[in-house]
């Protein structure tokens, strides 16, 4: 049926095209005056019709011959339309193009410069390598044409030709002619000339600019029109009305200030005001681009926009993509002082009709409260109030946010959770709010009498919740609750295990169920222990964006920045004049190590260490006897002290367990530990995988004096004769070990500073 219709359409289109051809043949060249009083040839409306047909996507290539004839006319509009047709259709009719050459050559000699320019532009737009000689010849004339319009067109045509056949352009004496044209008196010609040279010498990094040319160009900058200022990249034109020029200027400012910290802040301040103005008046698309750029700047300098937060409040009529970006900015610029006000503002967006904005707003409030702890209570208040609205989407999002808060401050959130049984039916359990809800429910399961019944109703209706993440969490939650309240949960747990081990279930679910089942079967005490220590995986991922975004500064004022972190170099072809090319490449080729914020605070000394060369074994285990033997045998030893005085926090609260867990988490095993007098004393060991070198260490930590005394010994496990290169290795690796150890000893003080204690274990 449908194919019949298509062919009918085709037929009809074919008929139309044929008819157009006939009319074109018959129409006279004589000028007439039509009904609206406009002088034109009879052919003009027909050609116009041909173009309309082409625009609609219908194949009109069969008319090529007729249109070529129509191109040789005195009617300029008709000529233009015909030429446009030719440049689009030339490839399909390569053999007929020769018929047009005569017309081209006549027009290239025409006394009207626009006709000359038009003919040249069209001639060179044809992507037909056979006609390159014609093009070259006309170009060499056109470059010294008396009209700037023709010269301008000729320069762009050089680029077309170069893309068609680089060899022809480079071989011809064109290039010299181009460099001469740089001194043209018409600014637009010069601008196009730069564009052309940049393209032709793209592989060599753009045109050759010596100081003479540079000075000369700078002097003439103000003559260029706005579109070329973007390309030529140098001006203090921050107040320009074209935001493209403005942003290019911003980019140069940043580029110039790179590496000079004093100027940097100043530069940011100066570019701030014009960017805020761009936010206020222009089209939403420009506002959107501007916001993306502000996000990058914000990550460079957190202070920059913090007083201007009101500019990022939502406007009533703006499209939602702008609002979403504004929320992202607000997340970043909220400070201790402004955050309460900002959260109050954002909370007003939540009850609106737009779901996506509601979700994002809740997420933003959560992110701000993560970063700025003193507003957490206020946010929770807002959330609790919103829960009462009973609107599904809001409740689901809030539950997700609450779960994340649970990691940060279990006490504050925990006391609020009694609301769960009354709202849970509104939660969209198939979204990410599902597992979040279960997790929260488990946490307070022993306090809430309804908890088992909620789980039971879920288990009875298991088919409605196929999502793996939900099912895994359901297993965990039911087991946890079972450990707390075995009598009430026994039945449902059995049911759940049975369902989860059905052969049609996914492997992941079956494995998990089986694992839990065996654990409970084997040793219920152990299970209790494990589930007591269950810790939330921190989802504090909001900050990671900051780091990846930093690098985007080099991509300022380009499309790729709008795509954010997902952008890839491969999306684009090489652009001439992209000055930041090299930086981009580096960024994309270097593997981005995932560095958490925490690591970064303390890793300063560790930076020069090559990660690949230095990896500690996670499975090393040696006996006390061997430890002692090695300790005595190893000749390479280092004794040093690390002062933790720069940390303002008191270390006294640290316990042996706290410290041990830091080392163990970082592959440094504990042989023995204990406290003697003012000292905590540890014997640590670790093994590097590549070289098999063992490190043994005696660490004495005085928490009062904030001083760590270290005795480090390094050597090979299988002692015997040591080769020369092994000796070299030893000294190299002892450096690494010292750095590594120092880093984590220093981290101890951060443990206290950041308020991360390990109390969660006891929760």
């Amino acid at each position: 049926m449908s194919s019949g219709r298509v062919s009918f359409l085709d037929q009809q289109q074919n008929r139309e095209v044929t008819e157009l051809g006939l009319r074109l043949k018959e129409a006279s060249e004589n000028v007439t005056i039509n009904h609206t009083g406009i002088q034109q040839t009879a052919k003009r409306p027909i050609i116009k019709k041909v173009l309309e047909t082409m625009t609609a996507g219908i194949d009109v290539s069969s008319l090529f011959g007729d249109v070529i004839k129509a191109a040789s006319t005195k009617d300029l509009v008709q000529k233009k339309l015909a030429y446009m047709y030719i440049s689009t259709q030339a490839e399909q009719n390569a053999d007929l193009v020769i018929l047009a050459i005569n017309t081209f050559q006549n027009d290239l000699q025409d006394e009207n410069p626009f006709v000359r320019g038009l003919a040249l532009r069209t001639l060179c737009s044809m992507r037909l390598i056979d006609y390159v000689p014609y093009m070259l010849e006309s170009l060499s004339h056109a470059l010294i044409d008396s009209s700037a319009y023709v010269r301008k067109t000729a320069l762009i045509s050089c680029i077309k030709l170069f893309n068609l056949s680089p060899k022809h352009v480079l071989d011809a004496p064109l290039v010299d002619q181009l460099y001469n044209t740089l001194r043209d008196r018409d600014p637009e010609v010069v601008a196009n000339c730069i564009v052309a040279l940049n393209r032709i010498f793209l592989s060599e990094g753009g045109m050759t600019v010596d100081t003479n040319i540079a000075h000369y160009l700078l002097q003439r900058l103000h003559e260029f029109n706005e579109w070329h200022q973007c390309l030529n990249l140098l001006d203090d034109r921050l107040k320009h009305h074209n935001s493209g020029v403005q942003l290019t200027t911003v980019k140069i400012f940043i580029k110039l200030a790179e590496g000079i910290d004093d100027i940097q802040e100043d530069v940011y301040k100066r570019i701030k005001s014009p960017m805020l103005t761009s936010l206020t008046l222009t089209s939403p698309e420009i506002v959107y681009s501007c916001l993306e750029h502000i996000i990058v700047l914000m990550n460079q300098s957190h202070q920059l926009f913090r007083e201007d937060y009101k500019y990022f409040y939502r406007r009533i009529k703006e499209p939602s993509f702008v609002t979403l970006k504004k929320l992202e900015v607000l997340e970043g610029i909220a400070t201790k002082i402004s955050s309460k006000e900002i959260i109050n503002e954002i909370s007003g967006y939540i009850t609106g009709t737009d779901k996506v904005i509601a979700q994002k707003s809740i997420e933003s409030i959560a992110k701000i409260s993560f970063r700025i702890e003193n507003v957490l209570s206020y946010s929770l208040e807002v959330f609790m109030k919103l829960l009462e609205t009973g609107i599904d989407i809001i409740i689901s999002s809030i539950i997700t946010a609450l779960e994340e808060f649970m990691n940060e401050s279990p006490e504050k959130v925990g006391s609020l959770l009694s609301v769960l049984p009354s709202v849970w039916t509104s939660i969209d359990l198939s979204s990410q709010a599902g597992p979040a809800f279960l997790n929260l429910l488990t946490t307070i399961g022993y306090e809430i009498s309804e908890a088992p019944y909620i789980l039971e109703s879920l288990i009875d209706d298991l088919e409605s919740y196929p999502a793996t993440s939900f099912r895994l969490q359901l297993l965990n939650s039911t087991v946890t609750l079972f450990l707390h309240r075995p009598a009430e949960c026994r039945g449902m747990l059995a049911k759940l295990f049975k369902y989860s081990m059905e052969p049609y279930e996914s492997l992941e679910i079956r494995e998990r169920a089986l694992f839990l089942y065996r654990l409970l079967q084997k040793d219920i005490k152990k299970a209790q222990e494990i589930f007591k220590h269950q810790r939330y995986a921190s989802k504090k991922n909001g900050n990671n964006n900051f780091k990846t975004r930093d690098k985007h500064l080099t991509k300022f004022n380009t499309i790729s920045l709008l795509y954010g972190k997902h952008s890839e170099q491969t999306l684009f072809e090489q652009t001439p004049g992209n000055f930041s090319k090299r930086n981009d490449d580096q960024f994309f080729s270097s593997p981005t190590h995932h560095i958490s914020e925490f690591d970064e605070l303390i890793s300063l000394q560790f930076q020069n260490l090559v990660k690949d060369e230095f990896t500690l074994s996670s499975t090393v285990s040696i006996e006390a006897k061997k430890f002692k033997a090695c300790w005595e045998n190893f000749t390479e030893s280092h004794e040093f002290e690390i002062s933790l005085l720069d940390s303002s926090a008191s270390l006294i609260s640290l316990t042996l367990d706290d410290i041990e867990s830091v080392f163990e988490e970082n592959m440094m095993m504990i042989m023995a530990s204990g406290s003697s007098g003012d000292y905590l004393k540890f014997f640590l060991y670790a093994q590097e995988i590549n070289s098999n070198i063992l490190m043994l260490c005696e660490l004495k930590l005085n928490l009062n004096l904030k001083l760590a005394k270290i005795n480090l010994r390094i050597g090979y496990e299988a002692y015997g004769i040591i080769h020369e290169d092994q000796k070299m290795n030893l000294s190299k690796y002892s450096e690494y070990f010292i750095q590594y150890l120092t880093r984590y000893v220093k981290e101890l003080s951060n443990l206290v500073k950041l308020g991360i204690s390990f109390e969660q274990y006891d929760y």
Binding site: T55, L276, V356, K555, T558, I559
Partner: protein, 449 residues
């Protein structure tokens, strides 16, 4: 480098104009974009606007919606997005300049003219010129006028002041038929438009007040004469400066000029010299955020009776704090109501021509329109709403924000005025006509309940 430029009419998915500059991207890109837009709507719902940029198979689509038409550029290169968006906006303005108005029908009638323009604006993806003057000499086709009754009123027509006939003459194309070109028009229109962004907290406090001002000029002057324009002398430039010395000044946070303006004297005398290009140009933008006296105050009051949990009374009062000789021809308040709202009744007995009231149960909104609100007066409305079920304890969170739409003719919120406007003409034969208009319009004027 722009690969293609095209204009889409989203309703039927027609490509109205299509120009391929580099032939390095597929011919069927308009369909690609339409597909993408459709998928977006399917996945995200109609209420979420798609971001103005897409990448499909290495082709970047940058587009903007101007008066219901999609203006789209495609490129394969990592170019400046600002450039492209500015260009798209500029092309739309140029089409308006040359054809008179911008509409689907106008584009169909004038396609050859538009193609002529596009051919000169961009060559092989490189922008060549967007200056009206320059393009005028390149373009030969005459504009085909759209029949009057078909004109879709564009957004600027909204600004038309009552009692003036300027609206229609502003919609003239700047280019006329060749024989008409020597006609004796010699006019310049200057519009000073201030858009207000304001929000009030539920306790009536001003959270935010901001003026985004612009001076627009539309010139039909012969021979590009010089224009001198002077503003109030009490304008203070820049927030950082010491304001105390000039206490009563109007403080510009930031401002910028168009290229055709010579602002040398602006710092000292608040004066600028303009060489306006033909057609419409925004010659200056400014931003004010301190000491803004807002033209309207809104006072919402919510009354709940604990005995009838499914009833609520809302009283809204609006006060016009503008001089008594000014008035607002039409002022519209929109109030979103809770989702469980079932019916709404208006208690105002005075339902004359001055006011009208509407409730839309589909989107749960009331719209209250006031005609001819005079400066210094108040209006109020009392509304009873009934819910299908009881309103939740926090139902007030779902009411509002109340948004207000208005335009006030002959009034600038900041008090900035054009104090001097002179056209320096070489050829004094025809005295130039100068038209100056002032508007204050709402961009985003909201009040939380």
């Amino acid at each position: 480098m722009i690969s293609q430029f095209f204009i889409l009419s989203p309703q039927r998915g027609d490509t109205l104009i299509f120009r391929d500059y580099r032939h390095d991207t597929p011919r069927d890109v308009p369909d690609l974009l339409l597909d993408k837009l459709k998928t977006w709507q399917k996945n995200h719902g109609a209420e979420l606007d798609p971001p103005p940029i897409f990448n499909v198979d290495g082709v970047n689509f940058l587009f903007t919606n101007i008066q219901g038409l999609y203006f789209v550029c495609t490129t394969k290169f990592n170019v400046s997005p600002f450039m492209i968006y500015e260009l798209l906006g500029r092309i739309a303005t140029l089409i308006k300049d040359f054809c008179g108005i911008l509409s689907e029908e106008c584009l169909r009638l004038n396609s050859s003219l538009v193609y002529e323009l596009l051919d000169e604006i961009i060559d092989y993806g490189y922008v060549q010129t967007t200056l009206t003057d320059q393009l005028k000499s390149y373009v030969y086709e005459d504009p085909v006028p759209v029949k009057r009754e078909n004109i879709i009123i564009n957004s600027l027509a909204k600004l038309k002041a009552p009692g003036t006939n300027l609206g229609s003459s502003r919609n003239r194309p700047i280019v006329h038929s060749r024989d008409e070109r020597s006609s004796k028009q010699n006019e310049v229109y200057i519009d000073m438009i201030e858009q207000l962004v304001a929000s009030f907290a539920s306790n009536g406090m001003t959270v935010r007040a901001e003026i985004n001002g612009s001076i627009q000029i539309k010139s039909y002057l012969q021979g590009n004469p010089e224009i001198r324009l002077g503003l109030n002398s009490n304008i203070v430039l820049g927030r950082d400066k010491d304001i105390s010395s000039d206490k009563y000044g109007i403080v510009f946070d930031d401002y910028k000029f168009h290229d055709s303006v010579d602002p040398t004297d602006f710092n000292e005398y608040r004066r600028m010299v303009i060489f306006p290009p033909e057609g419409e140009t925004t010659i200056m933008n400014y931003r004010i955020s301190s000491d803004v006296s807002l033209p309207f105050r809104i006072f919402p009051i919510l009354l709940r009776d604990p005995r009838c949990p499914n009833r609520m009374d809302i009283t809204i009062k609006i006060r016009a704090d503008i001089p008594e000789d000014k008035f607002v021809s039409k002022c519209t308040l929109t109030v979103p109501l809770p989702r469980v709202t079932q019916s709404v009744s208006n208690e105002n007995t005075d339902d004359s021509n001055e006011q009208s009231f509407q409730y839309d149960n589909r989107i749960k909104n009331i719209i209250w329109t006031i005609n001819n609100l005079k400066g210094g007066t108040e209006q109020s409305i009392k509304v009873k709403i009934t819910g299908a079920t009881s309103f939740s304890a926090v139902a007030e969170l779902e009411i509002g924000p109340i948004s207000l739409e208005f335009d006030i003719p002959n009034y600038t919120c900041s008090n900035i005025q054009i104090r001097k406007l002179k056209v320096y003409e070489k050829n004094k034969s025809i005295p130039p006509q100068r038209w100056v208009r002032y508007f204050t319009i709402s961009e985003s004027y909201i009040c939380r309940v």
